[in-house]
Amino acid sequence: MNISLNITETIQEWLMSMMPEGVASIAAMVTVALIYLIIFAVAGLYLVLLERRVAAWFQLRIGPNRVGPLGLLQTMADALKLVSKELTGTIKADKFLYNLAPYFVIVSSLMALAVFPFTKEFQAFDINIGIFFLIAISSIGVIGILLGGWSSNNKFALIGAMRSGVQTISYELSVGLSLLTMIVITGSLQLSEIVEVQKQGWLILQGHVPAIIAFMVYMIAGTAETNRAPFDMVEAESELGAGFHTEYSGMKFAYFFLAEFINMFIIAAIATTVFFGAWLSPFGITESLPWLGVFWFLGKTLILVFLMMWFRWTFPRLRVDQLLTLEWKYLLPINLINILIMAIIVWLNLTIKF
């Protein structure tokens, strides 16, 4: 079987046969962007459904099962409902920022998707500072949340937004440092090279103890960065009602909601790429069929997504000061020492390679 998944080049070559080079490049970019947008909007909706089903099973319920076979169309129906809903808002809101905020959030989370290597070829944009790009992009989302909370002219929203600012700024550090620990092994920020290094064994095995610590720190900080329970200070429905999106309705609310789930996917996908060998199959069992990489990538990502859901439906929420204590007194020092250990291990060549 010879399916070419190198979509950017395929599309560009196909377009170039029809129009001049400059136009074709732009048209190819737009096409790829649209494909990604559609795929991940739908994927985000199904993540919502997955979350609801998983939550139901944790909670001895059945979950959505009415719309469509096995309830598969439930979130589609929800999205349709949200599209058709009236967009309400407060009178004294800062209209421009208020309307801008949801797009900030959704665009920044969709941008991050471009760099993931779903297979060797299925990667829209193999930038040479991949990890750096991801970290940079994922921290833009918080601006949208801050804008939304600030401009809503609602005190609950404002408290939520401020909490979000505090939280994301702190945990950004741990996400970055724990990924940096792994960069010590790979020696490259480019995602395709990180995957290449892992052909000798997934990084979580190569780096053994410090890698596992880095993974745990990453998962905690990543959960915090997506503002999900047990770190959902931003929404904290028993304290702030709905937090920063209290005043949003209809499609604008849907953007926030969808962004949360896409962010969760992104956090899991980064972990898959950096710790679990991206599209590489375990022991290379499907090396001859490279298109199966999509399956492996999504499989690993969904397992991590499930782990985050498991956290959410088990743990109580932290208080806002405990959240910062956890970051500054526990995760950060552990992380710094962990980098040192990792550096020593790499220096002494103690990594495990298969």
Binding site: V54, W57, F58, L60, R61, I62, W310, F311, W313, T314
Partner: protein
């Protein structure tokens, strides 16, 4: 040192918590505690003492057991029962006797306290087990319990 033991203990308690939810996740298909209402209407059965609404049973001759003594009306705390009664000649004995014209029951006012049924000396009114009492129109909640043309069963005295 307590710094590290805190971390260890903390992670341990988190994992034990996750084991509880994880166990239910795996067995949840058997143990769903929610009901698929209204799909299960046919199998959903209320307990025999369930207080759905007050009804007045009639037998095959369209006869009920209410003598119109108004004890239920007095017992009701919020005026859900109104009895419109009259006096007539009893055909069997030829004496003057009280009988009900209409036994009006306002389901919308009823708090299902059961005092009327306790008070009834002839067991003329009982609880029905139906549980779907909602209507689109409030006037439908006012019900006349005795059927048209019904009369009191012979031998029931107040």
């Amino acid at each position: 040192m307590s710094y590290f033991s805190d971390i260890y203990k903390g992670i341990k308690t988190l994992l034990t918590g996750m084991s509880v939810t994880g166990k239910y996740f795996l067995t949840s298909r058997k143990g769903a505690i929610t009901q698929q209402y209204p799909d299960n209407r046919d199998t959903l059965k209320m307990f025999e003492r369930f207080r759905g609404e007050v009804v007045m049973p009639h037998d095959e001759n369209n006869e009920h057991q209410c003598t119109g003594c108004q004890k239920c009306e007095l017992a009701c705390p919020n005026g859900s029962i109104e009895i419109i009664w009259d006096r007539g000649i009893d055909e069997a004995t030829g004496k003057k006797k009280k009988f009900i014209d209409r036994h009006i029951y306002h389901l919308g006012l009823c708090t299902m306290c059961g005092l009327c049924i306790e008070a009834c000396p002839t067991d003329a009114i009982v609880w029905a087990q139906n549980y779907e009492n909602s209507t689109y129109d409030r006037t439908q909640l006012t019900k006349v319990l005795n059927r048209p043309g019904s009369k009191v069963k012979a031998g029931i005295e107040d």
